[in-house]
């Protein structure tokens, strides 16, 4: 509240004050466009700064000066950097991400498939990990400092301390090689049935759940614990609510904001940060796709992947902020 409004007495409300949520979404939307633009410049400059260009890295030891020159001429790599950037930008503004320099396939089509795969895996991991983490968090508050709390803590800490590829290898060793009950490699492809797909991604999903579980669980626990000492929790206890009901009905809703934030961060990680898990399980996701493209400096693909990754981060963070406002009546109904 500004001082002038209070002094004037008449609350002449600006749209910003009347529709805080809509304004926020609108502002964030504009800001994210600017951010995406900045990201595209950064990635372009970054790949440009890497040693070697597409023509020389792609053919490697079998290249000759003539073939390199031919490829450069065909792709227009001999033009100035700025021209090439704006050429690319012009296409993207019209929704055209161009074709991959290496495979000569449409980037949008390829990215579509890979993004679909990434979202599928991330989605399944999230469906299992988020409720599980929050439940375990509430459980460990319920049993705080007693045996179940300690067990949950130790196991989840152990899982987060192990590198994800190691967890992956352990799961492969026991469930695929020794017991032979899980599918490996987790390569999904077109024309695979839904059930078959779920079966195929069981191991990478389990790995990802173990990796993200601890972070969310511990944040839930800490956030709830911090409201447990407030007066209304004491009231809830005094009016005879069971400890579990008090946690679920009174403590958890008030601890939502930080939990939502950490969940959003982990979801973003599940989509954009799992290249190692993709490689270990031979899963055709976005991460591997982008790494392959960077290796040979396949600019249109790198740019498209970079933008999508940035967009996922921005979107999930925006969503987290909006949900935090929705979850908090004080922000939802500003005076």
């Amino acid at each position: 509240m500004s001082n002038s409004a209070e002094a004037g007495g008449t609350p002449a409300r600006s749209p910003r004050e009347r529709f805080p949520l809509l304004t926020l979404i609108f502002e964030r939307f504009l800001l994210s466009l600017v951010l995406l633009f900045a990201v595209s410049v950064l990635i372009f400059a970054g790949v440009e700064a890497l040693p070697g260009d597409f023509a020389s890295t792609y053919l490697g030891q079998s290249a000759t000066p003539e073939t390199i020159a031919n490829i450069r001429a065909e792709l227009g790599l001999d033009r100035p950097v700025v021209t090439r950037y704006f050429d690319w930008l012009g296409g993207v503004v019209q929704g055209d991400f161009g074709t991959s320099w290496a495979s000569r396939n449409s980037v949008s089509e390829q990215v579509g498939k890979r993004l679909g795969n990434s979202l599928f895996l991330a989605g399944f991991a999230a469906i299992i990990a988020v409720p599980l983490a929050i439940c375990l968090g509430m459980l460990s508050v319920h049993f705080r400092d007693r045996m179940p709390d300690k067990i949950i803590n130790v196991i989840s800490l152990a899982a987060i301390s192990l590198p994800e590829f190691f967890i992956g290898y352990l799961l492969i060793l026991y469930f695929a090689v020794n017991f032979g009950i899980a599918t490996f490699p987790a390569t999904v492809y077109e024309g695979m049935g839904f059930l078959e797909r779920i079966q195929t991604i069981a191991l990478p999903t389990a790995t990802l759940v173990l990796v993200v579980l601890a972070h969310m669980m511990r944040m839930t626990r800490a956030a709830i614990l911090s409201v447990m000492s407030s007066a209304y929790m004491e009231t809830a206890e005094l009016k005879g609510l069971s400890s579990w009901r008090a946690i679920v009905k009174h403590a958890a809703p008030n601890a939502l904001a930080p939990i939502i934030n950490v969940v959003a961060l982990n979801l973003a990680y599940l989509v954009v940060g799992v290249v190692v898990v993709e490689v270990v399980f031979v899963y055709p996701g976005m991460g591997q796709y982008m790494v392959d493209a960077v290796t040979v400096r396949d600019m249109p693909v790198v740019q498209a992947c970079g933008l999508i990754f940035a967009a996922v981060y921005i979107l999930l963070n925006m969503l987290a902020d909006i949900l935090a406002i929705v979850a908090n009546p004080r922000l939802r109904h500003p005076r």
Partner: protein
Amino acid sequence: MNDFTKYLAGRVTAGGMNRREFMGRAMAAGLTLTAAGNLFATSAAAQTPKKGGTLKLGLEGGAATDSIDPAKATSQVMFAAVRSWGDTLVETHPQTRAPIPSLAESWAPSADAKTWTFKIRKGVQFHDGKEMTTDDVVATLKRHSDSKTESGAAGVMKSITSIENKGGDLVVTLDSGNADLPAIFTDYHLVIQPNGGIDKPTAGVGTGPYKVKSFEPGVRMTFEKNPNDWRSDRGYVDSVEIITMNDATARIAALSSGQVQFINRVDPKTVPLLTRASTVQLLTTSGGGHYVFIMHCDKAPFDNNDLRMALKYAIDREEMVKRILGGYGKVGNDFPINDTYALFPEGIEQRSYDPDKAAFHYKKSGHSGSVLLRTSEVAFPGAVDASVLFQQSAKKAGIDIEIKREPGDGYWSNVWNVQPFSASYWGSRATQDQFYSGAYLSTADWNDTRFKNETFDKLLISARGELDEKKRKDMYREMAMLVRDEGGTILPMFNDFVNAGTKKLMGYVSDIGNDMSNGYVASRVWFDA
């Protein structure tokens, strides 16, 4: 029959060993000559290929950037793929590497080896049902050699001046004589496509034993049997699936759990663990690929041959083969050719680790202070360890090598072929001529040691046009000696191709031409039910 000879017999039955190798090893194990000969015959006779089944290959070296266009095929995965769906004019013999007919039935050079006439096989159908003609062959070769080409084979095709269809025969003219032209046509980029693949380079239509069914770059490629294959001695399995697996542990897990039947690039360090699984067999082949430390002969301090010699004597080759390759390799002799090449010059004295000679040459060179060696994990597997081993063995000769570890990304553009002393590797080439022309001729594109020697250049050119094999072999000996004693290459080891398969996989041929049975693994193997 003791266990070892049983093992040897098994390898013959599986097609992995030729007679010479078998006899040598069986007799070393204490068998008499006749006994060994009989054993070879019975084991080889047991080998009647069975048809059917799905072959799954888990291969390293694929990426989302792979293209099915053979001109752009560079990765291991695309190499094996191209060999499965396409045919070249000429193939190489798996054990001698001599050119043998494929889509070309026969060939003959002119007396100066400048003009070559190839008879093209008749009655061969492409996957799309069209009959292959000499015009298709001409168009294919032109696409890989014209001035607009972006082909990986452009380098080896450079000397071709004209490609013509003369009355149904293919006539190729070169700018100078080349006795190795048939060997050049074994290059996997040069698979014959309908109209040369000009209309649709990525169609994946060829004359090979398998038709491309689906292709997701960097993920998976599937093939089905070509029912109209012109050859009956290949393509035994019904369908083939290549899965790109760039993680070494993932490949091993997939093989030992039986989800794939063949994997490539087994890390020598993991071989003992892998062979512990009773269902797995190791498939190794010697190859012409090698790991090197390269010095620029025209840059100080490496412009001094005594310093180069000192460093060549200061490396412990045996130790490197043992530690870096886990024994799966052969020692090198400072020239890039070994017995996997036709016309290999035998009997050149093996250079070995000799700290005294190293110290002698080092003193004579007058160099003082350390020499800077740049290395990186990407230079070759174990390159950083190998550099440290080199540093330690050189230290005993009083030579101080300083190691600088470079980042992997950009190593091939910023360090290799740029810095005066670095670690690197080379794959095998079809012929000695191709190798020397690509990396040792004064004007070569990739002369990464800056080796400029007039005598060598002259020998290379005249050996190229020489049709008399004996004379040629003598010239190659002379060239090898020049590179070995004056060049900038320190060549500690040739690496074997280490692959692995399930025990049910039969018919694997240890082809010295290249990795994965020279890429033909899918068309050569079959399953023992």
